[in-house]
């Protein structure tokens, strides 16, 4: 893939995704830009036999993608592995986590006592960098984790299996990327972004 092709795919996916939050079906709903970014990139890289074109994000927008249990359930439907962070560092993440979601919990027993906690989704960009789920900002985790009011803590990250199993398989469509051939394309795309 050429840098120009990579840029065109990313830019197109980015614009389509941010428009989902700028022109939402539910103005008071949750943000779903990251979901759409990953879906659009998948569809651009794997236009054939891809069930992602039929994913309905409406329930995410209505109820929020912050309910951890249902979130994990949906992630597992794609075959993605869920890894719990053992350290408050992104050092354990390898290139296989490029472009993948990771989850952070905010919990301050005094300043956020009545809120309980809040879970936020970020996209891993390599080199300690993460992008928020609104696709609006990029920050360093090592910087962000020092926030003394919100007290952010890494929860888990996700990793695609590329095991060739056709998950969410309906007729001639299934979740992609899914096998070793897809992995080459997927890694080439993200490897050119998360240098």
């Amino acid at each position: 893939m050429t840098p120009e092709e990579r840029r065109a795919i990313f830019k197109s996916a980015f614009v389509k995704a941010l428009k989902k939050d700028l022109y939402p079906r539910y103005v008071n709903g949750s943000n779903i830009a990251l979901n759409h970014l990953l879906m659009n990139i998948s569809l651009s890289l794997f236009p054939e036999n891809n069930i992602n074109s039929e994913l309905d994000m409406e329930q995410y927008e209505l109820t929020g993608a912050v309910i951890q249990r249902s979130n994990k359930h949906d992630i597992r439907q794609t075959g993605a592995k869920i890894h719990t962070f053992k350290e408050q560092s992104l050092d354990a993440l390898t290139t296989s986590a490029y472009g993948m979601p990771l989850y952070v919990i905010l919990e301050n027993p005094i300043l956020l006592r009545k809120l309980g906690s809040k879970i936020m989704t970020f996209m891993y960009l390599g080199d300690d960098l993460i992008m928020d789920s609104f696709l609006g900002t990029v920050v360093h985790w090592e910087n962000m984790k020092l926030n003394s009011e919100w007290k952010p803590r890494l929860l888990f990250w996700t990793e695609l299996p590329f095991d060739g199993v056709k998950r969410m398989h309906v007729e001639n469509k299934w979740f992609r990327p899914f096998d070793s051939a897809d992995k080459i394309i997927w890694d080439d795309f993200w490897g050119g972004i998360c240098l």
Binding site: R7, V15, L18, N28
Partner: protein, 166 residues
């Protein structure tokens, strides 16, 4: 690993932007991305080590630390500048910077169209009227509503400061 204290106040200062060579792109899609990121970067949702909660409604008022925080929020001092004021000024400065980058006339037309063509259920209702009505009687904070409200209200402010009423 990059410098952990490095800040990225706007999207075009990030590694992502330079790696993708987005600086070569000066079309409307690139402009929309930069505008979107500008609004978001200035919001309280942008986390750095210095981002504060700035709201005492969730605070445990039964403990000393909580009481001190509530007091600080309620009595911020004479030199206090509301974050909204700072945010609006930062966004307007960002708009001016983008106008220089993309061309003043083109930028103004793009921004004006963004506001005037914003879809509302009633075509005779402006975006700001629609957004204000939508939140009346609903004190709960919605991040997406706030994002769109900040976007639309700062467009009006940008043109107001230029003597143009939308």
């Amino acid at each position: 690993m990059g410098s952990s204290t490095e800040e990225f106040p706007t999207i075009d200062t990030t590694h992502l932007w330079s790696t993708l060579k987005m600086e070569d792109e000066l079309d409307d899609d690139a402009l929309l991305i930069e505008l979107h990121c500008l609004i978001h970067c200035t919001s309280k949702l942008r986390f750095t080590r210095h981002t504060t909660i700035g709201d005492s409604q969730y605070t445990d008022e039964t403990v000393e630390e909580g009481q001190a925080y509530i007091k600080k929020q309620n009595h911020p001092g004479h030199n206090f500048v509301h974050p909204h004021t700072t945010r609006v000024d930062t966004i307007i400065a960002g708009y001016n910077s983008l106008a220089t980058k993309y061309g003043q006339a083109h930028f103004d037309i793009f921004l004006k169209n963004l506001y005037t063509s914003y879809p509302t259920p009633d075509p005779t209702t402006s975006a700001m009227t629609y957004l204000t009505q939508l939140n009346e009687g609903r004190p709960k904070f919605h991040v997406k509503w706030a994002y769109i409200y900040d976007f639309m209200s700062t467009i009006i402010e940008y043109f107001d400061r230029r003597g143009v009423t939308l």
